[in-house]
Symmetry: C2
Subunit: 121 residues, 2 copies
DNA sequence: ACTACAGTTGAACAACTGTTCAACTGTAGT
DNA sequence: ACTACAGTTGAACAGTTGTTCAACTGTAGT
């Protein structure tokens, strides 16, 4: 939402270390990269979605079973699965009346694993 | 918020694969672990906080300069720094009128780096 | 064709989150 | 003691987010 510019308007500071600020500005990633990054983490920043990811970590599961496991309605789970789908974190496969969801790749597993290490300290 | 139980109340499914669900239930992490994990990612899931982390990645900065760099008010930055402090993602050091913030450790850097790899695909 | 059920979807609602604003604390300089 | 300014803080507000509810789609079985 916020966009930082060459001559930031909102800063009311007097004693700015202009040289440092300018140097850092060059080193900062693109605005879009920062948004992509925080958007990615936003997906993982919900306990329901985190639970779903762990549930299907051991193998694909249908919506019904995920809902049963988490003690939630199919609707609530389906809404969250949609978000996970749109972020390409999960894949799905229709077989008859069921839709089976699975983890899309190992990247996410690694990231969550690293975060777990960080937390346990 | 949601707590899953041995006999989930909210699931209205008929065709549940009970054996799979029970097996997964045993393999699931503790409820508290899931919350800690998603809470951690929640912190990284905001572009302002992500920007701040990148800003101080190159070395400690005072609140004023961070605000100038991001084009935000000191107040807004300070509020986010408080959250980052409470999560032990940053450290701070007072010198005179300024407060310099720095990254707490390398863990976070690694996680963000891994997420970046994931995004660029 | 009809019924049953897994899954999806949009609207509505409540809870949460980030920024703004104004008031405040504390340090430095005069 | 006074002024100036960096930084913090709580309340208020607007925007966002997750769950619920009800209606819907599509497939399987009869």
């Amino acid at each position: 939402m916020k966009v930082y510019e060459k001559n930031p308007p909102a800063c009311e500071c007097e004693e700015v270390h202009a040289d440092i600020v300018e140097k850092r500005r060059d080193e900062m990633p693109d605005q879009s990269t920062l948004y992509d990054l925080s958007d990615f983490f936003k997906i993982l920043g919900d306990s329901t979605r985190m639970s779903i990811l762990y549930a299907i970590d051991g193998g694909s599961m249908c919506v019904c079973d995920i809902a049963a496991l988490l003690g939630m309605t199919k609707s609530a789970v389906s809404h969250q699965l949609k978000i996970l789908r749109q972020s390409d974190l999960v894949t799905y496969r229709k077989t008859g009346k069921n839709v089976f969801y699975a983890l899309a790749d190992d990247h996410v597993r690694d990231i969550i694993e690293k975060a777990l290490e960080h937390i346990k300290e």
